[in-house]
């Protein structure tokens, strides 16, 4: 679909954020005139090294921070507007949890902030705990949780809201490959259900796997924005994938390419990704058991 036909969920115009010292001196320019449009139903990734402005962008989208210059709109309104908060789900980089509460109490607290009635609240909590695989650990205090479990409870509070826009800061960090795959499946499921997802990640393979579009930030500057397809396609190179080729046929292919003036780079067997191999091996072992 053309971007012109799609609803803009997030828009930033010359978004600038400067951190200053107590005395008003510029400490760091975290974002510099960033212009972004994020559309309904897409998975959008913010990429960049540490200190590039990813988390700052997310905090500005949540209305936790205020822009120094420029503006940011979420669903056409200021992110400070409480009205739009019911449609936004946020999972921070580290799952910031109330350490003395258990999973049930944590989710009940957030359900109360959303104003859910008792019956809906109970059903939704049971449902999301099952979705993130924490039903059995629901009575354990969150301070006893592993990093992976904390991420899951963080995701559970997002799912509890059933928001239109989901903001995920490093969603797969700290998860084992199985957990990371499950998290990616949850994100893809959100997209299937028409949700808009904005995520930041250092794990580029994860981003490549699931995202539609990417913005690359560097020291507060937005240096590239495009679809994963456009960014990763090498325009002057072609890839032909075929099965069951004989030596003779491969020779012929080589010859045809050379005759056509092409520069053959490689003919060989494609390789599986390590993640895919790992998941397949674990699944096979589980089936055996």
């Amino acid at each position: 679909m053309d971007s012109m036909d799609r609803n803009v969920v997030v828009k930033t115009v010359d978004l600038t954020k400067v951190y200053r010292t107590f005395w008003g001196k510029t400490y760091v320019r975290a974002l510099n005139k960033v212009n972004l449009e994020i559309y309904e139903g897409e998975i959008f990734a913010l990429l960049g090294p540490n200190g590039s402005g990813k988390t700052t962008t997310m905090k500005l989208l949540l209305g936790i921070m205020f822009p120094t210059k420029g503006r940011v709109e979420v669903f056409g309104k200021s992110p400070r507007s409480v009205e739009i908060k019911k449609d936004i789900g946020f999972m921070p980089e580290e799952s910031y949890l109330y350490r003395f509460l258990n999973a049930d109490e944590t989710l009940r607290f957030y359900a109360n902030l959303m104003g859910l009635d008792r019956k809906t609240r109970k059903n939704r909590i049971d449902e999301v705990l099952q979705m993130v695989g924490l039903t059995e650990a629901r009575r354990r205090r969150t301070r006893e949780y592993s990093k992976g479990m904390s991420r899951r409870i963080g995701m559970a509070q997002v799912l509890l809201k059933d928001p239109k826009l989901v903001i995920l800061d490093e969603p797969t960090i700290g998860l084992d490959p199985m957990g990371a795959r499950e998290m990616k499946d949850v994100i893809l499921d959100l997209k299937q259900r028409g949700k808009t997802v904005i995520l930041s990640s250092h794990l580029l393979a994860d981003v490549q796997d699931i995202c539609d579009r990417i913005a690359i930030l560097h020291r507060g500057d937005l240096i590239r924005t495009d679809s994963v397809e456009n960014l990763l396609t090498i325009e002057d190179t072609w890839e032909i994938v075929a099965k069951n080729l004989t030596d003779q046929t491969r020779q012929k292919v080589r010859q045809v390419i050379q005759e056509g003036g092409g520069d053959l780079q490689k003919i060989g067997h494609p390789r599986e990704s390590l993640e895919s191999l790992f998941l397949k091996t674990i699944k096979e072992k589980e089936v055996e058991k």
Binding site: A30, G51, K54, T56, G63, M65, K85, Y98, L113, Q157
Partner: protein, 294 residues
């Protein structure tokens, strides 16, 4: 102008009671919001699971030791001495519990960054600040009630049961004194760092408990400009002294009547409401999460 203010001064206790009732009604309406209640209950739950309760147990032991010892060192007024000692310990431990909890409540939410998740939910600054205030006030109520019960229980089994008629209102006033201190700390936590907030709260509490002494000193000042400034400052500092009646409640020239108690409660509610309102305003303008960027 002064003539106009005269009846205001005459009926000030009654006005305080009326304004206090209005503020109490506002707090009750605020607490009826599910979001405020959720934040308040969460604050109580979090704080109760910390180790404050151990402090209360420690208080019980200290109280019993202190009050029984005090009753022996002042022959002829054993009961009064025990009551004074008990109320002193109650006020002291209550103040420490209040300052610790009230300065931590919002600060820990910011430090542990759970505030980010709060902000991603449909809550106003009003819900957060009022919820935090009511949560800590609830916690203070629980701790003062527990300590008060120990104190009252001690006097029920002692030979000085007649003193309870003065001790119970004194405990109630301690609660409202600490509620006002809670509001002050919550307001402080919207603009100050935790350490500054603790120090400033203690200083203001100290100034407030010696309000009449500092007022007298001010009146003796020779430089008029200085006198006005100090007067204005003392007007802002809550008069914590009026809630602390342990030293004067057994003196002949002090009458502990309902108007005194209710007007003090009204004053506490009114000042607390103003401080919470200011806290909401400051918190609305506050930018959190600026300590780290990526």
């Amino acid at each position: 102008m002064i003539a106009f203010l005269k009846p205001l001064k005459t009926y000030w206790p009654q006005i305080q009671i009326g304004l206090g009732a209005v503020c109490l009604a506002l707090f009750v309406v605020g607490a009826s919001s599910r979001k405020v209640l959720a934040i308040a209950l969460n604050t109580i739950k979090e704080e109760l699971r910390k180790k404050i309760l151990y402090l209360l147990v420690l208080f019980g032991v200290i109280f019993l030791a202190a009050s029984s010892a005090m009753s022996k060192v002042q022959p002829g007024r054993e009961g009064e001495a025990a009551a004074e000692a008990g109320l002193f310990v109650l006020g002291l431990f209550g103040m420490l519990t209040t300052i610790f909890s009230a300065t931590t409540a919002l600060f820990s939410e910011i430090r542990s960054r759970t505030i980010f998740l709060l902000f991603s939910h449909p809550v106003w600054s009003f819900h957060i600040i009022l919820g935090k205030f009511l949560g800590v006030a609830g916690l203070v109520f629980i701790s003062v009630s527990l300590m008060g019960l120990v104190l009252v229980g001690y006097f029920i089994i002692s030979p000085w049961t007649d003193l309870l008629i003065k001790i119970i209102p004194a405990v109630v006033l301690v609660f409202f004194q600490l509620m006002l201190l809670t509001a002050m700390c919550v307001l402080g936590s919207t603009v100050l760092s935790r350490i500054t907030n603790i120090l400033l709260s203690m200083i203001l509490f100290f100034l407030g408990t010696g309000h009449s002494f500092f007022t007298e000193i001010t009146e003796m000042m020779k430089v008029p400009v200085m006198k006005h400034y100090v007067r204005a400052f003392l007007f802002i500092v809550p008069d914590f002294e009026k809630f602390s009646i342990r030293a004067k409640m057994f003196t002949a020239d002090f009458s502990l009547d309902a108007t005194y108690v209710l007007s003090a409660i009204g004053d506490s509610l009114l000042r607390a409401a103003i401080m919470v309102a200011l806290g909401i305003l400051f918190f609305r303008l506050k930018e959190v999460g600026t300590e780290r960027w990526e």
